[in-house]
Amino acid sequence: MSAEAAVKYVTETPESEKERVAAWINTEEYKELNFKREALVIAPPHTCQPLGAELVAHAFEGSLPFVHGSQGCASYYRSTLNRHFREPAPAVSDSMTEDGAVFGGQNNLHEGLENAIAIYKPKMVSIFTSCMPEIIGDDLVAFLKNARNKGIIPEGMPVPFANTPSFNGSHIHGYDAMLLSILQTLTEGKKVEGRCTGKINLIPGFDANTGNFREYKRLFAEFGVPATILGDISDVFDVPCDGTYHTYPGGTKLDDAADSINGKATLSVGPYSATKTFAWLKDNYSGKHAAIPMPLGIAKTDEFIKKISELSGKPVPESIKNERGRAVDAMTDSHQYMHGKKFALYGDPDQLLGYVSFLLEMGAIPYHILCSKGSKKVEKEIQALLDSSMYGKGCKIYMGKDLWHMRSLIMTDPVDAMIGDTHGKFACRDAGIPLFRFGFPIFDRVNKHRYPIIGYQGVINMVTEICNKFIDIKDETCEDRFFEMMR
């Protein structure tokens, strides 16, 4: 209870004061104060590891994501995926509570496994942790060994697990950790000397665009190159509505994943969100290995296509050359709508690099580049891109900053548009600029995840969305006398 003595009355902030502050938060002075922050983080556009772990845990055939930790965590992850994909995201938790802190989480884990396996009949249970077990130091290796010994885990059922502490890294690192564990588990003992599947394994990294996955597959098919997408969400989070519900509607086949260790080659296009996985693969997988940037924009897609050609030994098919030409056609035809336009952008490193590359290709200016959870390496790589183009001049990179910093940037040094996820919408509204939702999550528009942004088709999709929005704005904001038939 409060110890106040004298009566304190309810106060109202005067309107004038509100107006003063409303103006002040848009100033350079405020920006400086804002950038001085060291402890408070406001609206960071990244989340914790387990979210990424759950995404990839859904991405394998019959795999049930299993949160070792509090059930509330699981509900949060699931809801996020539900909202973004507008799809189910079946996952369980072992509902640890206070007594877990005292006794450890083994009982919960065992009971949870027993129930989940009985009820949801997975082919694989993919376990990852939220905060509690990480802090109390649960020994998952031992717990799972005990579970096997007790017969809780059926013979032969793979149960990968990943430590994904929320107080470390971000969703992309959780993705990496879970993927690594899944592949380690599934490929264990599957390496066969002399065997080659003839396939290319693709590691897409953290990517919540099902259209991208379909596009990767289409491109491999166009090449006539058999491929295994390691962590394929396309049929998991883009499921037909036909009157039936399936708990496990898709995902990379477990046999294919197991056999991926005997692949002809393994290609990572998520260098920053599958780093550890790729490092492990390089030492353990047969065939060639390559990690290249996510194929966003023409140059990076060229690199991707060349790499498939190189790894598969097949020439680039005419159809893909034509696709490239059509994408370039879309760009030359509409460069004037983007040329010189300034963008603010933020997101995960892999995507961010792609956005920057694409914007520079269009003669647009990636002016404020913000990465809330990046590394020096990312920063250097982005800077190198900026330095490679005259349109990169004057652009600045902000590592480890958040969307409240971004707001200060765009209010004091305006841009024409932002690229990001739904969370950027508030700053964009204040700045009066459009937000291009290419990132994750997208909670407030439909079907965005069905349209690829990778590959040449992705270029067309981005060009179309961005240019037409700028034309929309012109049509909506111009005086009558400038309202015209043609644009």
Partner: protein, 481 residues
């Protein structure tokens, strides 16, 4: 109020119990034993719970439940608009609960309203060395950057409690230094069995830190009330408050949808607490009753029948002036409501609905569906207690299935058997049932619509329910091939 016994053709105690038994068949023995008491056939006449509740969730069953933090941040604290709410701990919890509950707010973001995510973004080193120092620094930074914030709440996430940080003393010290109410709330997610404990802890924190610290400067009137347990989802508060004002009451404070800290702090001076969501805020009503002698009354603002009943019950607590206004208001809205019913009821008559929501709507909305000619064939809560289920029994048709914290599997099986025309539940369930071709509305978030409270809300509710049930898209689900 005694209710006539409602029945649904084909649904008997036996059929429901058989359904439950068949559903549980797949469960391991232990889980079956744990789950069985949470599933039951309603005994409408009894007026009391037919299920056990507020127990630990069975591990591994795929529950829809959240945690104490979710209850504290999402429900109680988050909606207070003029405070900075710091999610203290790692980045995730604040990120997930950021903008996802639809508790609307007036004011300008970052100026006098703070619906952003604030986090201390714990890193490994904060776990190792503790986060109190960081907390104090960030409180200073928050005060500097958001000078119009009336206070700051510090909402602990799991690690904070587990590593033994003392946020209470840190908050107390900072409050003094910054001359600002800073409220520490120990709502770590591992506490309790669901969101519910988060509500309770938050209520207690309000009791301990806020209530009684302010008074209204204007003179008291006999019509001063507060509106408790309305979180302004999709604008509910704005609809409900306007209606209460229309019957002549002064709504002095709102808990906590679009709420203001200092008004909440002065609530102990009102004449009556009107509570909509009993589950999340009965604690504070009871405290104010005990401590300040403020009576409280539950009411239901969903659908004209319940609104009418509620307005009259509220009127009874006041003088003739209010009672006359109540009748005027009812007379004014009755024909408007009738027109809505006339429009939609023919398209909804006899349609069946199943519900699984939080702590209020599984019972409170039944009347609104019935106003539209629909019947409820199953209902349950994520985090209710026995007193909720007691209150549910008279509302539900007899022998219908009641489920407490059901697993997705159970919910699916029930729906499969009962073939509802509509399911009202949350985002995690929505797409499961839509894949089956069953119309669905999110009944936590009003599916991005609203308000649903009050007369204004009913017009939106009726339109939305009709839209969901009668959307021609459902006819396309079955493939002709």
């Amino acid at each position: 109020m005694s209710h006539p016994i409602k029945t649904i053709p084909g649904i008997t105690k036996e059929s429901t119990e058989e359904l439950i038994a068949k559903t549980l068949e797949v469960y391991p023995e232990k889980a079956k034993k744990k789950r069985a008491p949470h599933l039951g056939a309603n005994d409408q006449a009894s007026g009391s719970a037919c299920v056990k509740s507020n127990k630990k969730t069975v591990p591994g069953v795929m529950s829809a439940r959240g945690c104490a933090y979710a209850g504290a941040k999402g429900v109680v604290w988050g909606p207070i608009r003029d405070m900075v709410h710091v999610s203290h701990g790692p980045v995730g919890c604040g990120w997930y609960s950021w903008g996802t509950r639809r508790n609307l707010m007036t004011g300008k973001l970052g100026v006098d309203q703070f619906a952003m995510q604030f986090t201390s973004d714990f890193q490994e080193k904060d776990i190792v060395y503790g986060g109190d120092k960081k907390l104090k620094q960030l409180l200073t930074e928050a005060k500097e950057l958001f000078p119009l914030a009336k206070g700051i709440s510090v909402l602990s996430e799991c690690p904070v409690g587990l590593i033994g940080d003392d946020i209470n003393s840190a908050a107390k010290q900072s409050a003094k230094e910054l001359d600002l109410p800073i409220i520490p709330c120990n709502c770590e997610g591992f506490r309790g069995v669901s969101q519910s404990l988060g509500h309770h802890i938050s209520n207690d924190t309000i009791r301990d830190h806020i209530i009684g610290t302010r008074e209204f400067s204007e003179p008291e009137t006999p019509y001063d009330i507060s509106l408790i347990g309305d979180y302004n989802i999709g604008g509910d508060v704005w609809s409900a408050k306007a209606l209460l004002e229309e019957i002549g009451l002064n709504v002095k404070s709102v808990w906590t949808g679009d709420g203001e800290l200092e008004k909440i702090a002065a609530t102990h001076t009102v004449k009556l607490n009107l509570i909509h969501c009993y589950r999340s805020m009965n604690y504070m009503c009871k405290v104010m009753e005990e401590k300040f002698g403020i009576p409280w009354l539950e009411f239901n603002f969903f659908g004209p029948t319940k609104i009418r009943e509620s307005l009259r019950s509220i009127g009874e607590r006041f003088d003739q002036t209010i009672q006359d206004k109540v009748e005027q208001v009812i007379a004014k809205y009755d024909p408007i409501m009738q027109a809505i019913v006339d429009e939609y009821r023919p398209r909804l008559e006899g349609k069946k609905v199943m519900l699984l929501v939080g702590g209020l709507r599984p019972r409170h909305t039944i009347g609104a569906y019935e106003d539209l000619g629909m019947e409820c064939v199953g209902s349950g809560y994520e985090f209710a207690h026995t007193d909720d289920y007691d209150r549910t029994a008279p509302e539900m048709p007899d022998a219908t299935v009641v489920y407490d914290d059901p697993s997705e599997y159970e919910f699916e099986k029930f729906a499969h058997a009962l073939k509802p025309d509509l399911i009202g539940s949350g985002i995690k369930e929505k797409y499961v049932f839509q894949k089956m071709g069953i119309p669905f509305r999110q009944m936590h978030s009003w599916d991005y619509s609203g308000p649903y409270h009050g007369y204004q809300g009913f017009s939106v509710f009726a339109r939305d329910i009709d839209m969901a049930v009668n959307s021609p898209t459902w006819k396309l689900v079955e493939s002709p091939f």
